[in-house]
């Protein structure tokens, strides 16, 4: 109605996935691929939400268990668990372990309602087809993995 072009410009394709009972989404352009969950190698001194490392065609990357990270109850005994391989803006690649991928959706950025402070991992909530979906701030999630030495 009013300025459709402007509204279009703010539309971002998001991939929607479920972690436990909750649904979340991230921009689809940051997704590299989706693959089945396989055994990971435990990493010493890792934060509790890091499952471990996997080998993605020669690149070693860490997998984050989003259920642990977001502190939600994962679906029990779920064979459909998948790892979404994402690449953050600064080039860090990591995997997000989720319970299932649901679909894609166009999200109008102006419709995102902020729920938490700036540096939180959740940038806001958005309504898609009457479902409340959390929009993850990828940089925050991934950014915690790199930098700093743990001993």
């Amino acid at each position: 109605m009013t300025d459709e072009a402007g509204a279009d410009a703010k539309l971002v394709k998001m991939i929607v996935f479920a972690v436990g009972e909750q649904e979340y989404c991230i921009p689809i352009l940051s997704v590299r691929e989706i693959r089945g969950f396989e055994k990971t190698t435990a990493l010493p001194f890792a934060p509790h939400y890091v499952c471990g490392a996997i080998n993605l065609r020669g690149i070693i990357l860490t997998v984050i268990d989003l259920a642990v990270y977001l502190n939600v109850q994962p679906q029990a005994d779920n064979p459909r668990r998948v790892v979404i391989i994402v690449e953050s803006r600064n080039g860090t690649v990591c995997g997000l372990l989720v319970d299932r991928v649901i679909d894609m959706a166009d999200v109008n950025l102006s419709e995102i309602q902020a729920v938490a402070e700036e540096d939180s991992s959740l940038s806001g909530l958005v309504m898609i087809a009457d479902r409340m979906i959390g929009v993850l701030r990828l940089e925050v999630v991934v950014g915690q993995l790199v930098g700093g030495m743990i001993s």
Partner: protein, 760 residues
Amino acid sequence: MSGDMDDILLVFFQECEEQLQELERGLSALSDGESGKETINAVFRAVHSVKGGAASFGLENLVRFAHVFESSLDGLRSGRVAPTPEIVKTFLKAMDVLSDLVAEAQGGATVDTGRIEESRAELQAIIGEGSGGAQPQQDDTVPADFTPVPVDFEPVMADFDFGDFGFDEEEAPAAASLVVTFSPHTAMYDRGDDARNLLIGLADVAVAHGGTSTVTCETAALPALAAMETEKSYLSWRVVLPAAVPEESVHAVFDWVSDVCDVTITRDGGSGPSGGESAPEAAAAPATPEPPVPEPSAPVAAPLEATPVAASPEPQKPAAPPSIADKIMAELPPAPTPAATAPIAAGNTTARRPVEQATIRVDLHRVDDLMDLVGELVIAQAALESIGQREDGGQQEMIKRIASMKTLTRDIQDAVMAVRAQPVRSVFQRMQRVVREACSMTSKDVVLTLEGEDTEVDRTLVEKLSDPLTHMLRNAVDHGIESAEARIAAGKSPTGQILLSAGHRSGRILITIKDDGGGINRERVLATAIKRGIIAPDAVLTDDEINNLIFAPGFSTAATVSDLSGRGVGMDVVKQAILGLGGRVTISSVEGQGTTFCLSLPLTLAVLDGMLIVAAGSTMVVPVSSVVETMMVNHKDIYMLPDGANVVSIRGACMPLIPLASELGLGGYGSGGLSEEDVILVVENESGARAALIVEDIRDQAQVVIKSIEKNYRQMSGVSAATILGDGSVSLILDVPALVANALGRIDTRPSDVRTGLAA
């Protein structure tokens, strides 16, 4: 054109790099007293090539300096000057300036003109007596109109090699009076110079002074075609320049060739109007390449305007003399224009360009070896295929083939490594300069001796070694070597000695930097460390620990901050850089006798011989090179210390016992809980400190490919990298020295505590 030019320029800079290395090598040989003809020639050639190349690209500064350098070296070559240590030192200094100028041309920092002038003056002083008094000024006054010459004419030189005689230059009559006659020796052409350039240079000089030049070619000495030796110089030229032209400018034109060319310059004051005699001959135009076989009787001629165009290889057609005489006059002034634009273009291309050397030179036989191996691999693969197609399955055969393929893979790996390997010479030789500069800044006299420059390492490593070594050598000169007075007082020679050596030791490269200076003053180091809050005042440290304090961030005992060192960042940075390469630094120091730094680095950053072990249920890799022995553990040999840690006594030697799983925070172990099946690995770090790792099992020994884990994850203490095993799973490579250091409670870990303490 810019794309092509860029490529050529890149090649030029690569060549410069090589020539400079050659130069360094030659000069080092000279300073070692080896003044053979071949050495001197090599040095001369190196500078000459740089000069020649630079001239083609209009890199004025570089050309001018290289030229002076070359002239002085020529003095050496002709035996006029003896390579005394002072003179070699001057040459070394000049070489530093030269390499800086090359860097400048590559878009690096501008070189301080004072330095250039100083070095130039020194160079000229060397041959000062031999050459004319006017020489020193020439370079400064003339080049403005002189240097562009080689730029636009260079392309011609290529097709001019064979036709360096037989052209005939003629110009409309000049008003009067500076007559230059010159006859090049054959040696001049041998050297790659060309009479043509001289003529063009003279023409430019004439134009610059508002006139034109008249050139006559003296062909009297030219024998019959049959008798002509193709490589001999027969021709001489007579050039009449306008009166306004100062003699110095002419000298400058011949500056490069004065030793291989007879030149006479006379003021043709009152010998009548020169126009009169030369007008009839005003036939041919200057400077055009001639066909390979010249006809002495009928010199080929073409207008000068052809020269800028002369990039095209075809010689211009002979033209009728009188008709073009005027035309030449008209055409002459514009001639320099392309010359003027060329340097600008060249300047643009050189302007901003990352100086990343992305190519390597490889011995052909190494590539051939690799090729052979790849051929073998293809055959092996075909063999496997044929076995797969056999009816009976061929199990036995298959296993045999796979085993041979395994050796093949390993050979290929070695071959590829060999291709990437480079001698450390390039870095080591750069260090000579570092030491020289450090010496002149601290006014100490230090000789750097290099050993094992031929040791080969992966090229990425070679590049990354440069900075740490620079730091360490500067430190060695600044802090290690005492002042000459102190050295004499201590009964040493006033000249300090630093030895930089490289060698292989059990799959690693060992670089030692050894000075014969005062050694580390441990009391002072300790006092400073306490003062700066790096360690607690009541700490009791071993000598070794005190030595290692100099690697602590913020540590510096230097009373004043000098240009060289004393800011307390150097050694910390060195250590970080070496650790980053997977290496270690150890120090040993004897007070009054000197300090030795040992850098131990992995040979390659890509592959590692590893022992696959199991800890906390997951497979990990321990570098085989750090494993001393493996054994079953005997409970009787384990003692518990008051603080809860365990030590184990192995044949009388006590060492800390590290339960690997709990050390890595992977759980699964209670303190000291040791099951019967557990195995211990005795591991050792570079300085020989040992510890015993408790692991659950030893699986295998294999070559593993090192994969960085830090790109997508943070650094982990005790883990240096990761690898991918045959089944595709990720396995961690343990950082044994870090584990040992942690277990020993060494001070290496303390700096990081301090850092976090300060940050908080």
